[in-house]
């Protein structure tokens, strides 16, 4: 790809970007949120057309006007959010978008044969007749990769492929990628995890603000150098930690269970406590009960068993989020755009979500718009949210700034207990360091913090104690500093016994 330019309205998403991937290599592409990685990959895969610039595949100029063109040229893409039809089987999904003629039986035989070959060659065994809805996340990803390979992909783009995997599953993925590269395929790995870049890639390209700032041989660089290239200044990767002994117990959870509407046990007899002045991290692969735990603690879902005490006083089934907030419980939800903010609102309206009952925001039934804007300005100043524009649409802020808005709203109301879900998901490196420092400062100020994150690094960096969840159960508890990623990874995968 040479001299790629792309503008969206007034913003330049890509500026004179050159990007070259050698055959048979794994090439990492890193950059902060909004640096232009996704745009560049969208152009390569034909979702967007570049305003100018050229693309050559195997040395020949190529015009890629649609994903169909990209597939014809041997380019395959595995999206971060899987593009699979849940009600279909694996075979049906692989056949999606293939030219089959009116009847599909013949094409289906061909696909089954190819699936068998791939299973043989790469150990990519998947039951062709399994329904997508019944597969695990790791298996879904294999289906996506197989889908691309069946369509003849020689260049494979993977967008944040390990976000939903355990460390062990990620390692298996990397072995597979190595094997594919060894056979002459080219792999482009888009990620923000520098450790993965160091572990698996041959080359790495760094983007910042729509420009390609460096392409390096992986062996000749370091995570620190890459991080600095990404943000354009030096960053602190690890926050200070001088944990003082924790204080009184703030949150007590006893035998908490949840059976969902379909009769599945989502939360199984969870018991733990969180004390003032400590961060308790909950590690686990997404979908193992952490979200349900957060929802119940925040008053958004009713448990089917067990009880919760806040400062020693039980939470009653009728206590809604408003009642819990009055008792000093604040909640940073896992998905900011689904719950934490209203994309259609301006920042000032989003900044008071859940806080409108406070008397500061107007007398009686009225909502004081000026007070709302003043409040938002104060949040923007203290959390360095840019741009400082309370009347700008929430959706127009970058992911990191949106997240800071939610964090500022919840953290600056002196919580007794802060529930935090995925505080840095989709947030750039610079903002991550800032958010981590703020969480630690809140703990040092005496708040109890329950941190749910699927990023093991984050759990390890921040937590004083770590709980590991698997299949709805708390399968283990470790003190920070007495465990490592490997042990936690095994526990997350349910392979480590319950023994302490």
């Amino acid at each position: 790809m040479r001299g790629i330019d792309k503008r969206f309205g007034a913003a330049a998403a890509n500026r004179a970007v050159d990007f070259t991937v050698a055959r048979g290599s794994i090439h990492g592409l890193v950059g902060e949120n909004g640096a232009g990685k996704s745009t560049l990959m969208s152009i390569l895969y034909g979702f967007h057309a570049a305003d100018s610039g050229t693309i050559a595949v195997n040395g020949r100029d190529a015009v890629i006007g649609s994903p169909a063109d990209a597939i014809r040229l041997g380019i395959g893409m595995v999206h971060q959010h899987f593009m699979l039809v849940e009600a279909f089987t694996v075979v049906e999904n692989v056949m999606l978008g293939m030219a089959t003629g009116f009847l599909t039986a013949k094409a289906e035989r061909g696909v089954r044969a190819r699936l068998a070959e791939l299973a043989e060659a790469y150990g990519l065994a998947i039951d062709p007749d399994a329904r997508i809805a019944d597969l695990s996340v790791g298996e879904l990803q294999r289906v996506e990769i197989v889908k691309a390979l069946v369509k003849g992909a020689e260049i494979l783009i993977l967008d944040e492929p390990t976000a939903v995997l355990t460390p062990q599953e990620a390692d298996r993925l990397f072995v597979l990628l190595r094997r594919l590269a060894g056979e002459g395929r080219s792999i482009i790995l888009v990620t923000h995890k520098l450790k993965e870049i160091m572990a698996v890639t041959d080359h790495v390209s760094v983007m910042r603000r729509g420009e390609m700032v460096a392409t390096l041989a992986t062996g000749a660089t370091s995570p620190r150098e890459l991080a600095e290239l990404m943000v354009g200044r030096s960053v602190l990767l690890d926050p200070d930690r001088n944990a003082r002994p924790p204080g009184a117990t703030v949150l007590t959870v006893e035998g908490l269970s949840l059976v969902d509407a379909r009769g599945h046990l989502r939360l199984d007899d969870a018991s733990f406590e969180v004390r003032a002045g400590e961060i308790v991290g909950v590690a686990g692969v997404s979908g193992n009960g952490q979200s349900e735990l957060l929802d119940i603690l925040a008053g958004l879902r009713q448990p089917t068993g067990g009880r919760i005490l806040l400062d020693g006083v039980p939470i009653r089934p009728g206590d809604d989020p408003v009642a819990l907030r009055e008792r000093g419980l604040r909640h940073v939800p896992e998905d900011r755009l689904r719950r934490g903010l209203v994309a259609a609102f301006d920042a000032a309206d989003s900044a008071v979500l859940g806080c409108t009952p406070e008397p500061a925001f107007g007398p009686g039934p009225f909502l004081d718009r000026a007070a709302e804007i003043a409040d938002c300005e104060a949040r923007m100043a203290s959390f360095d949210i840019r741009p400082r524009a309370p009347t700008l649409g929430t959706a127009l802020f970058s992911g990191g700034n949106q997240q800071k808005l939610v964090l500022a709203r919840e953290m600056e109301r002196a919580p007794r207990l802060l529930l935090v879900g995925q505080p840095t998901r989709g947030v750039d490196v610079g903002a991550i360091a800032f958010i981590h420092a703020r969480l630690v400062a809140l703990r040092d100020a005496g708040a109890a913090v329950l941190l749910v994150s699927s990023e093991l690094d984050e759990i390890l960096a921040l937590s004083d104690r770590i709980l590991v969840m698997c299949g709805g159960r708390i399968v283990g508890e470790r003190r920070a500093g007495e465990t490592d990623e490997t042990e936690l990874g095994l526990m997350m995968a349910g392979l480590h016994g319950r023994a302490a």
């Binding site: 958004l300 989020p321 689904r338 719950r339 609102f345 979500l353 009952p357 009225f366 909502l367």
Partner: protein, 365 residues
């Protein structure tokens, strides 16, 4: 996020109307009449005389109420198609008050009758709201069905329990004068101003107040914030401790109350008795008005005036040009709805492209 300059929000509705009128012009041409002449007749009929203006504003009054009704429900994320039935029940509420308490003095009876109109509409809309919130029955379906039920109920009542003794028409006895909203001509006469006699009455002022009240409600109250949150993101509302189910019922009741107030114009202001089918489609025009006005009271006021012009101008037009029937006016209204609602995205896209071109010329890269 696409970049969209502020002026586009004002220019687009006008462009939509212009395209709709152009399309209507082609239709007029097709039936052998001169579209320019026809449009001239329509606009002169609607705005060319004090009499015409009075009628135009009278129609617009009803459309403001029903348009605001649709907008309030829309801010809560619901499509209230039941304005027609809610207006009819508003009329019933006003009539019950006026007929039951004929001896009260006007400062008490008139506000009570107006309240009756609001409550009638609110009650009729709250039921579909409750069914949606707690039983999951889709509000579009239930409000449409409730229109039919309201129509049938009104016929039953007007043919039976509420029928004026000795009358063959579907109507109640006349209300006491204390229950009637004064016409603007009468009010003006008190101050020595001579206005032509038209159906325009005090409910026009009520409609203007309602515009302001809805703006305050939606953008300056905690309830309005809750309504907007539920409409934009029900999950975020639940997170904030706002019950989407409760807010749905409240928003629908408010929406129905506004639709019910439409009856003050026609029943308390003009007829002075409850008659059959008095809403005459105003409930449905309200949907178009709210769409064109983009849910904002100022836009709704402007759109209601436009539809008032169409209603009055169309009546004049069909009178002067027998080839152009009243049905033609319905077609023109339909075209406006088509272009400002369904095809709005098409014009918007063109507008955005144009805005980008202009923007680029203004700021050379």
């Amino acid at each position: 996020m696409t970049f969209s300059p502020r002026w586009l929000g004002l220019v687009l509705p006008l462009a939509n109307v212009a395209i709709a009128l152009a399309a209507a012009g082609l239709l007029v041409l097709a039936i052998g009449e001169n579209p320019v002449e026809a449009m001239g007749i329509a606009f002169r009929g609607a705005l060319g005389s004090g009499n015409g203006i009075g009628y135009t504003l009278h129609y617009a009054t009803s459309f403001v109420f029903t348009g605001l009704a649709v907008a309030v429900a829309f801010h809560a994320g619901h499509f209230n198609i039941g304005g027609e039935g809610q207006a009819l029940m508003g009329g019933l509420g006003a009539a019950l008050v006026a007929l039951a308490l004929p001896d009260l003095p006007w400062p008490i009876l008139l506000p009570l009758a107006i309240l009756g109109a609001a409550l009638g509409g609110a009650a009729w809309a709250a039921v579909p709201g409750w069914l949606q919130a707690y039983r999951g029955s889709h509000i579009v379906i239930t409000t449409i069905m409730f229109n039919f039920i309201a129509g049938a109920l009104l016929v039953y009542l007007l043919a039976g329990p509420l029928r004026m003794a000795g009358s063959m028409a579907l109507e109640t006895a006349a209300f006491a004068p204390a229950a009637r909203l004064p016409s603007l001509a009468d009010l003006a006469a008190r101050f020595g101003v001579d206005l032509p006699r038209t159906p325009l009455n005090l409910s026009f002022a009520m409609a203007l107040v309602a515009c302001l009240a809805v703006w305050v409600l939606i953008w300056r109250t905690r309830l309005g914030y809750a309504i907007r949150t539920v409409g934009a993101n029900a999950e975020a509302a639940a997170y904030a401790g706002i019950s989407p189910a409760r807010v749905t019922v409240i928003a629908l009741a408010l929406s129905g109350a506004l639709a019910g107030l439409m009856a003050t114009n026609e029943i308390l202001g003009v007829q002075g008795r409850l008659i059959n089918e008095f809403a005459a489609g105003a409930g449905f025009v309200g949907i178009a008005v709210a769409l064109m006005g983009r849910g904002h009271p100022a836009g709704i006021l402007a759109a209601a005036l436009l539809f008032g012009v169409l209603a009055q101008g169309g009546a004049e037009l069909s009178f002067e040009k027998p080839a152009i029937t009243r049905d033609m006016i319905v077609v023109i209204q339909g075209l406006v709805i088509l272009f400002s609602g369904a095809l709005e995205g098409m014009v918007r896209h063109g507008g955005l492209v144009l805005a980008q071109r202009l923007g680029r010329k203004a700021v050379p890269a």
